[in-house]
Symmetry: C2
């Protein structure tokens, strides 16, 4: 049986993990695949620095084009990251009928359609298990395990950095900035943390999950994105007193034939299973109309978990090659046949947490609740924190389900009140029914 | 493209769910498979009772043999349950080169090897996603998603009935018998509950999971099994005071090249993620050497979750038929190539919870701890509940890690003490390191 040749583009942390798994588990993987997997070539800008894995120096190159042009390479593994020139390299690999495995969520979320089309045209596989939630086999679960389900919702904690920061803020009551700087020192956050803390990375993963679940290529630009920079420790504290935790959630939900896709911090009840997902862990709650509620939990990032997912894709594709199975039913038609209409954010219905900063004098609550009432928003509970007459105090409220557009209008009016001294904090509430 | 014909043996609860999914999601499934799935024939002893799904009465038969002998049937779905005559029917279906999908964990755990051999010989698929944890795609996750991992441990809450009973006992402080009877009235427990409450059903599922994870057919008889009948509400209460929950766990763990396979009630720390798995839900914690800790959570039983898993297997097999892919690499060689040696229970090392019932007089603790010490067991903490001189009181202890064989000997000695008035309760402790 022909050996399967692998070309690895990107010999960084995850790349090193992939090399380690391919070498340490060589016998096991060969047994699973039915033939051996050979690392044919590795491309990286830096091929000088020592890595904690042994590779034949002859297979190292600084030119990824050498992998793409090597006719013996069956599967290209892309771990370069970024969009340019990665996109071009991937497209060319696919055009040259090489199977592709990638962990690049940014690339898939922005240029996925093009890649799926190219893969479909060349009748090759495109594996991307590693692009969402690292070691958790969530793509397989959605695409295969839940194939008989209409997915009603996906609610995920899919960014480890944000979850680490929010968990620390909750446990220690310290500020976002302080924890972020600490996380950066400890290597849990990037030097430029915006992709993570501004919710963009979560949106990339949501784009991929929603596209598979709803078989419709969701445009990244249609996802509502709000990060965690503005989350204040006091709001985490008040949420805690009310029996909630604050988490950055990535949500895709079908409501009345329309799809909501949004990333934002949200309050979830403390007894909700996602509430106890702490630190860098990821978890995704999927509701299927047949399977019911499912949760997938694990390490969403890191060298070996991500490498584990990459190698699972390599094995699946290699099995297809060995057994001369055609590649899986192309993803593209699966993704574009069902049209879902996206729900505008203004029409979202959810519960809200509000913190109004107002001068402590009679009539404040009546004014604020009056404005809310005019916009069809009813209050479920109020906590007025402290009493400091004529000084600013926080008025914390939980509302019943209301419409986002109404809430925005009400907030604009509330913030214009003389007695309101700062911008009202507004956080959405999720998961009250689970 | 040829239609794929399905023969369904067993038109009970789950069978009805399968029929419903195949009909309600017909278009979606046809799209996924690449051709339509047709329910060719349904066999059940009872074809008279009305079901809440519509089927052509002409496809109903009381004779499962008609399905097996029908040359047009591609995939046989076995939802009859039981061992006889189900085993013979399944074997014959496989011999006749029909693909088989089954949810029958008892059959797989007792006669799996024979079935895998028959499937392998006939080069057909054998799908059994529905046999473990209902709607949770755990088989796929282990076999495919974690293919690059050495599995270090599997710890699962895999029996909904037991978890429901233990959850209720924890919440309400009532006895096993009382909750069991209530569960029977409410349909959460069978009239004959022994398969569930004696841990046998959990052992069946563990047998399947461990055989896949460790690629070695684990003999059901080698699994240590202890059910929940003897769990007393007082022990649940003391465990709670100590910061633990009591759960029935199914455990497969590789320790020093040996495999532990055991089902028993155990204390787990209250902040352990499995501790918050309540009611009829199932959850399995899998540790892989690359992917790290993963948890899969969901409905482990019930009509639609189980049907969801059955249909996911039907779809996978149907795709293989459509694309003329040979069946997956046969399971059998995968299962028998790696030999694992099973660890005898006496050599298990774990922490223990003990409740000694003893006359409240000076020297009891010193006697008991003396015996434990002689057997190399050291005490981590003690709670002496109540003080009733010269009357029996419970002495509750947590030990450090000790060896099961030592513990058994120590318990025999302790229970022979004059001052000890009843059999000492001994529960294992799990998950302190997660």
């Amino acid at each position: 049986m022909k050996t399967i040749n692998i070309g690895l583009m990107g010999f960084g942390t995850v790349g090193t993990g992939v090399v380690r798994l391919l070498s340490e588990h060589a016998a096991l993987l060969a047994h699973r695949v039915g033939t051996s997997l050979r690392l044919r070539r590795i491309a990286d800008r830096d091929i000088e620095s020592p890595r904690p894995v042994e590779v034949d120096p002859k297979i190292l190159t600084t030119d990824p084009q050498q992998i793409i042009e090597d006719p013996s390479v069956d599967i290209v593994v892309e771990l370069l990251g970024g969009i340019t020139p990665t996109r071009e390299l991937c497209l060319e690999a696919l055009h040259r009928r090489k199977h592709l495995v990638t962990a690049n969520k940014a690339l898939l979320a922005t240029h996925g359609l093009e890649l799926f089309e190219a893969a479909s045209k060349s009748r090759v596989d495109l594996g991307f298990e590693a692009s969402v939630c690292g070691g958790i086999p969530i793509i397989r679960a959605l695409r295969e395990g839940l194939v008989a389900n209409r997915i009603t919702s996906i609610v995920g904690i899919v960014n480890g950095t944000c979850n680490y920061i929010l968990t620390k803020m909750t446990q220690e009551g310290r500020s976002f900035q302080e924890i972020l700087q600490e996380a950066q020192r400890e290597g849990y956050a990037e030097a430029d943390p915006s992709l993570d803390v501004d919710g963009i990375d979560s949106a990339h993963k949501l784009q991929i999950l929603a596209s598979i679940a709803y078989r419709s290529y969701v445009d990244l630009r249609s996802i509502y994105i709000e990060g965690i920079r503005a989350v204040d420790p006091s709001d985490i504290q008040y949420a805690k007193e009310l029996g909630y935790r604050v988490k950055l959630l990535a949500i895709a939900k079908e409501v009345g034939g329309e799809l909501e896709v949004r990333v934002h911090p949200a309050l979830i009840p403390e007894d909700h299973l996602l509430a106890s997902v702490g630190g860098v862990f990821n978890a995704v709650l999927i509701e299927g109309n047949a399977a019911g509620s499912l949760i997938f939990y694990g390490r969403g990032a890191g060298q070996m978990p991500t490498a584990s997912a990459v190698v699972s894709d390599i094995v699946e594709i290699a099995q297809n090659i060995v057994h001369q199975r055609p590649s899986r039913p192309p993803h593209l038609p699966e993704i574009t046949t069902v049209e879902v209409s996206l729900k505008e954010m203004d029409r979202l219905r959810t519960g809200y947490y509000l913190r109004v900063m107002a001068i402590d004098k009679p009539g404040v609550l009546s004014k604020v609740s009056g404005i809310l009432g005019e916009h069809h928003i009813s209050i479920a509970s109020v906590i007025q924190k402290g009493r400091r007459e004529q000084r600013t105090v926080p008025v914390v409220m939980m509302t019943h389900e209301a419409q986002e557009g109404d809430m925005r209008k009400a907030l604009a009016e509330i913030d214009r009140l003389d007695m309101v001294t700062g911008r009202t904090v507004c956080l959405r509430v999720e998961g009250s029914h689970t």
